[in-house]
Symmetry: C2
Subunit: 345 residues, 2 copies
Amino acid sequence: MKTWRVLLLGFGTVGQGVAERLRDGAAELAAVGLDVRVVGVVDPALGSIARAAGLDPGRLLEMMAQEGSLRAYPDTTPVAGGTEAIESIEADIVFEMTPTNLVDGGPGLHHVRSALDAGRHVATTNKGPVALAWAELSELARARGVQLRCEGTVMSGTPLLNVFEGGLVGAGVHSVRGILNGTCNFILSRMEEGLEYDEALAEAQQLGYAETNPSGDVEGWDAAAKVAILGNIVLGGALTLSDVAREGIVGIGKGDVRGAAEQGTRLRLVGSVRTVNGAVVEPKVGVEELPFDDPLAAVRGPGNLLTFDTEALGPVSIAGPGAGRAATGHALIADLLAIHRQVGL
Amino acid sequence: MKTWRVLLLGFGTVGQGVAERLRDGAAELAAVGLDVRVVGVVDPALGSIARAAGLDPGRLLEMMAQEGSLRAYPDTTPVAGGTEAIESIEADIVFEMTPTNLVDGGPGLHHVRSALDAGRHVATTNKGPVALAWAELSELARARGVQLRCEGTVMSGTPLLNVFEGGLVGAGVHSVRGILNGTCNFILSRMEEGLEYDEALAEAQQLGYAETNPSGDVEGWDAAAKVAILGNIVLGGALTLSDVAREGIVGIGKGDVRGAAEQGTRLRLVGSVRTVNGAVVEPKVGVEELPFDDPLAAVRGPGNLLTFDTEALGPVSIAGPGAGRAATGHALIADLLAIHRQVGL
């Protein structure tokens, strides 16, 4: 049994999802030799606390449910913020779960850089650092002898980056292509059922699929960040977000959706990137007209699906959730487990 | 770079698929630190040869194409058979690729047992040993400090067992359910298009999907073996083939298929197994009537699809080939890579 001391940066939906998985999945993790000890939680809104002896995941969730804050957790030391926590708390791995900022990476980029520099492994669900600064960060991780993993940045905890690494290296993957944004797919699916764009968007917002400001989703930024991440990790590229040709679903009307249906096709926002002679080319996100029997056309509502095209196996597809508290929380556990298998035995 | 000395037992379709992947994927494997050296090939029909300095995969394939035999490969030592090869050839891992025997495991079971006992890692595509003797063999592997892996026994090289291990441990997988036999699925798909059972079977045989004696597929034995394997590896059971309730597609007529279609359903041969309170229960294979929008109903022709039901992620599905030379050959490379990551660094 190896104890992994984990520092959680962010205790919103994803951080609470991690706590939930640690509470419910402890026995399953112990069975593969993993003892996870949360030694600190940093969240500017909810409280930032450290405890070397460990914070109980179930207790953290109870405090959130009862008090909406972590500040009163007994026997803890208050922490000023993420950077101080990275420097002062003895952790083996940092889970970076602050909100994605695709403009300059925001605090998340600073956290990931500081944590790697301090010799901590990092698992992140934050698309910003990975989509904007992969080349720099992966080089820094290599130089410090630690790992940077990001399963949760694409399709939440659906195994994808780990599938590639665990099962498709050597299979000659030459392209990836998928439905990568559940919000857009939900809106397009509802439009097929007769709603106008504005009605479908309002429903997506009501259900919590879309933000009040939906531009990150509907303008294709989120999917484009994921394409950059896939191009880097699966195909070995050095893409940043600005390399990805990007088109969203804004401006698609009910008439477009109906017209496609009359042609026996469905409109889908598809992200893709491929290699030609070893070079990573044509990273893009755009609306495509797909025949009904295309596996991507069959994805309805907020689901996600990614297809790897490979030399040895032909197409291999993975379908799973694109979001969700426990689903994204699981991503960080999967990353920790992957690191454990490589360095912790 | 670590050199892995590999002994190939069997050089039929799967063995040649391995050679193909080693020839075409060498650069990709070198990039992750893997140098694979084939130190012996044993095939009673095609020749059994050893060469400590390594046999060139491309050359092995050329000899098969030109002479239909490996016996004239220069500078090699002849070997008597699998057991002698396991004992006399210094290999780090044995690829066991002899034909599946679901009655008593046949030579494959003997090979796997001998190789593990001799302290060799084993990767196998042979369902017999894993479906009939998993409890014994996995204990033997543990006792000798080596690994037994079998990605290729289910859905050929489609990442599946490696996905579970690499991405779904800790996610609370509580059931697996899938289309596990491409031959049966091809026959049922063709019957939906109007063929009689006998016509569809004849076509499957003509295309090489079904054997001259098709009972292993159409009576559900093949799918049942895969259910036992999934129950053991994914759910931690100790099943053998005889624990699996088994029904095939023999006796299904065009009328049944048409009747299902009139109800808005499709007939599919489905394999499944699940856990209840930690116990592995209800391993079974049978014909089910599925609504059109069930992901399993959407699988046409010889494709395979498996769904993991999980606590953290809900359903996660993987679709890919169920057979094929390069696809199955890749499975052994994926197993080797998984072992390399755990023990070889």
